[in-house]
Every structure is written in C-alpha cells, then in structure tokens.
C-alpha cells in the first residue's frame, strides 16, 4: 500500500477538524482533494505567468501559452494519447461527452440508427445520447447489467446486432466500482462497426490508462476527480476523427478566418476550444498528473483496491449491511445499504463523526432501478485514505445502527 503518512501532509484540507475529529474524506468518486503542489501551481500561474493564451505577441502571453500547452502534453502522456492534437481541453467528462454527441453524433447519427449505452452509465453518458437520439429519431439501446453488477456481455452482444453507430460505456462504474473489460468491449463494438466512447471519469484517477491499447475512439476524463481543479478535463480522441468533425462551440480561438457570412476552422485541437480556456485548470491538471505519475498509477490502483477489499470485508460483517457491486474487478468504490436506514440518514450520522460519504442515486438512476433501491451510501477511496479511515467508517456505521435500532 502507499505510504499515506507521507502523502497526507501534502493535502492541506486533511488537516481540517470536523466536529473535533479528523476529516475522513470518503467521497472521492465525487471529487478528490487537492495536494499543495496543485494549489501552488495555480497560485504560481496567476502570480507570475497569467495572460490570454495563443494570442499575445509578448513574453508573458507566450509563457501562459507554454504552461497551457505543457499541460496538454502531460495529459497526452498520462493516457498515451494518439497525438497531442488529439487532446481537447474541456470542463470535464460531461462536456467531453456532450462535445462528441453534438459534433460527431449530429453528423453521423441519423433516423433509424442505434446508439448503445449501458445501465451502469452515469447520467452524463446517458442524457447527451438521449438528446441526440430524440433529435435524430435514432434508437438508444441500454445494455443490461448482471446480478453481481457487471455489464451483461450476452446483452451487449445482442445490442451490437443492431450495428450501432456508437457504443458508450464507463471504464469504471461510479456507482458500483466495477472495472469493466474495456478493451474487450471496444473490440466487440469495433467489430460491429461502431465508434466507441469511453467514460474515463472513474478510471483516469485510479488506474493506468492507455487509450492506444484500449483502441477506443473517444476517451473522456475529469481533472477534479484526479487531484486537479474543478473545471479541468479533457476529451482524448483519434486525430482523424477530430479532423472530420464540425466545431462544437463557435467563437474566438477556434477559427482560422472569419468572413461576414462564414468562417474556416482552426487546426485541432483548437477547433474545439472556442473562447478563452480555463488555463488555471489545465495548469493544475498538469501538476496533478505529475503528482500521480510520481506515485505510479499501478501503486495507486493497488492501494485503493486493497482499501476497498478491506472495507467490503468489514462492512459485510455488520448484520444488516448489504454491499453492492462485484466481488472482484472492483475499484475503490464501496456502495452499501444498512437495514432500513435511508442512506441520506446514514450520511448525516457519519458526518457527525467527520466521515464524508455520498448518499443518493449517484447520477445513475437507471442503475438504481435495476438494483431495486432508491439510493445507496457510497464510500470511495483515494491515495490519502488509510486503515484509520476504514475504522472510522465502520465505527460510525455501527453507531447509526444503534441510533436507529436496526434489528440484528
């Protein structure tokens, strides 16, 4: 496991006391905390290098542009992108997917076509496709999940029989923690002639990702779940696809020339980055990637999986607790319910002991319907979590049982 005693002091917020107790932050699938190096990178950028990028013919603007483009290089290296030009900065996974739906989707999906998603997708990888399909008169096909919380491969195969134009799925489920067999799914989808979109919001922070090995067409990630600022994110795509796609947002930066009645477009990735970008976020993302690379993503993944394994084990020992998700191939996400205590009440009770967990549908309402629950409580781990955090979680959950008198 990672040396959390050395990692924790890097995160100023973890020094905060919550109701007189140490902050036990277990909502990392929602967003991660930020290390001092990321915070400092943002402060440093504004203190020394701030100017608008790609425009100014002065040294300061060149520095800002260099900082922004260096972050693009870092993202490209982090996921082994096909090319730097295939990294489009966005506000996060949601915007990345909306970009693909609005640009590639509107151009390539028509009446009678099929788009495939899965029942474990986050709303951000469902709703953009619903909007597209409704607009185009296309069919949205949702692939079912198995009882133990995996994508149902038989149903996935059936969905591919319709020769879908596009197949979208999460690399890792935010609600269940399932690590999906992404490369296998992509191979099957590709063989059926589909373009593939991988929601990487929960994989990028936690696993070694190589988009060229995956061989997907689009990969979306959010910076804020991987130590970087909110509002940072990227769409990683095969450059040839981006070249062929129409722009997403019209405005400055994304154009080559503008006439009275028409325009020509800038080169990729700038064609998709209309308007002044969030340079601070990109710079912070670059610093976050440097921090994660120093730890090593294999070690990050092993650390979280070990914490999740222990948490599942210990929570399962409490009479009345149900843990959701697969027994193996699980990232650091542990969803559970406890007797008839509503997860919202659980979260309030745990918060009293400084334990922050998420309660609700986790932006996966179709999945919740299939699980037969309105909501779950979810503990999710990251690099700074340790066994003390699991102790605090388990102790607080037991307290909730006592308060509510859960029948043993």
């Amino acid at each position: 496991m990672l040396d959390t005693a050395r990692i924790r002091p890097d995160f100023p917020i973890l020094g905060r006391q919550e109701n007189g107790q140490r902050l036990v932050y277990l909502d990392n699938a929602a967003t991660s905390q930020k290390p001092r190096k990321v915070i400092d990178a943002i402060v440093h950028y504004y203190t020394f290098h701030n100017a608008n990028v790609h425009r100014g013919a002065y040294a300061l603007a060149v520095e800002a542009t260099d900082a922004y483009e260096a972050a693009r290089t870092a993202v490209a290296r982090f996921v082994n992108a096909w090319a730097r030009e295939g990294v489009v900065f966005t506000r996060g996974t949601t915007e990345s997917i909306n970009l693909v739906a609005a640009s590639w989707g509107r151009t390539n999906v028509g009446r009678g076509d099929t788009v495939v998603v899965t029942a474990m997708d986050h709303h951000s990888n469902i709703v953009p496709w619903q909007i597209l399909c409704q607009e185009k008169g296309a069919t949205l096909r949702m692939v079912e999940i198995t009882a133990d919380g995996r994508i149902d491969l038989a149903d996935f195969g059936r969905a591919l029989e319709a020769k879908p134009k596009l197949v979208a799925f999460p690399c890792v489920s935010n609600s269940l923690g399932t690590v999906n067999p992404a490369a296998q799914l992509i191979k099957l989808a590709r063989a059926a002639g589909a373009v593939t979109v991988v929601d990487g919001a929960q994989s990028s922070p936690h696993l070694r990702v190589d988009v060229q090995v995956l061989d997907c067409d689009f990969y979306a990630l959010s910076g804020h779940k991987m130590l970087a600022p909110m509002g940072s994110g990227a769409l990683i795509a095969k450059p040839a696809l981006l070249e062929a796609m129409p722009p997403y947002h019209g405005g400055g930066e994304m154009i080559e020339r503008v006439w009275d009645d028409r325009s020509s477009w800038n080169k990729i990735p700038h064609k998709f980055e209309g308007g002044t970008p969030n340079v601070e976020a990109a710079v912070g993302l670059g610093a976050a990637i440097a921090y994660l690379e120093q730890l090593g993503m294999e070690r990050v993944a092993a650390h979280e999986q070990e914490l999740a394994r222990i948490a599942v084990d210990r929570l399962s020992q409490i009479e009345g607790v149900t843990v959701y998700g697969p027994p193996d191939h699980r990232a650091g996400v542990v969803p559970f319910t406890y007797g008839d205590i509503h997860p919202h009440d659980l979260a309030t009770i745990l918060d009293k002991d400084g334990v922050c967990i998420r309660a609700g549908h986790h932006c996966t309402q179709p999945l919740m319907r299939r699980l037969g629950v309105a909501a779950t409580a979810r503990a999710s781990f990251y690099i700074y979590n340790d066994l003390d955090d699991i102790d605090a979680l388990v102790t607080a959950v037991r307290k909730a049982g006592e308060l509510f008198g859960v029948p043993a």
Partner: protein, 156 residues
C-alpha cells in the same frame, strides 16, 4: 467552522424515529379529490400525497413513499404533517406550513409536535427533506397538477 457541533439526538428526536418506523396515515386515500407528488431530486426522496377536501376542510389525508425513497426526516415529517392537518381548514394548514418553514429558517418553533423538527435547523442539508411533504401539501391544496420539487421551492 460552526461553534458547538449539532447533536444527532436533536435531529433524530424520539418522536421522529418513532414516526419514521411507524408512519401515520401511510396510505392511499381512495376518496381523495386532491393529489400531489413531491420530489427531492438531490437524494431521491419521493412522496405521493392524497387529500380529501370537504369544503375547505381537510377531512382525510394520507401519503405513500415508494419503497426506500423516504429518509427518516422526510417520512417522519410527512407523518407528523398528516396528523397535524387532518380535520383542519386549508387556511390553518397553510399557516402551519408557514410556521414550519419559519422554524427551519431559524425562527420560532412551530406549534405542537412539529417542534420536533427544530433540530433540522442545524443540518442545512436536511431542510429540504423536512419540507418536502409540506410542499406537496401546498401543491395539493392549490390544485396544482405539476409535481413539485424541492428545487423549485425557496427553502433558503
């Protein structure tokens, strides 16, 4: 950040735990002539409220929550609300809602058992849970056909 940390026993008072476990008027009212649905999209709380109005008197009221879709605060609040407004005139029920909201916004305690929710004040993330049933009642009394959500209501 806050001074004295709020105590859980102030939020989960015995009367609230009791009404959560054994909700009153937890039924569909077949003779209802007013209905409303309430949603709290943040946590998935959902309530279906049934009101039988005779003139301007609430002669019967009941509520249902789909399995698992009500937290203790929203369920107990709905239960205590139905007890409080049953047999009351519409105007009196609306006045109770006003008193309830005022209490949650930091004002004086609402009358009777409704004061049990005074502890919710210290848990801002739970105020919408406590208000959900009341918003549904308000919609039902207004004869609104649209489901109400806590997001369209000004609770803060």
């Amino acid at each position: 950040m806050s001074s004295a940390p709020p105590d859980l026993s102030e939020l989960y008072q015995q009367v609230i735990l009791d009404h959560n476990r054994n909700p009153r008027n937890f039924k569909r009212v077949e003779s209802a002539n007013r209905k409303a649905e309430g949603n709290n999209p943040l946590c998935g709380d959902r309530i279906q409220l049934y009101v039988q109005l005779d003139g301007d008197t609430i002669s019967d009221v009941g509520f249902q929550m789909p399995q698992g879709s009500g937290c203790a605060i929203s369920k107990a609040s709905a239960s205590l609300m139905t007890e409080a407004v049953k047999g009351k005139r519409m105007g009196d029920a609306e006045a109770m809602f006003e008193a309830f909201r005022t209490m949650l916004a930091g004002g004086a305690n609402a009358p009777g058992k409704l004061a049990a929710f005074s502890g919710v004040r210290a848990f801002p993330s739970r105020i919408k849970c406590a208000n959900l049933a009341w918003h549904a009642l308000h919609a039902a009394l207004e004869g609104s056909a649209e489901p109400v959500t806590t997001e369209s209501a000004k609770d803060f």
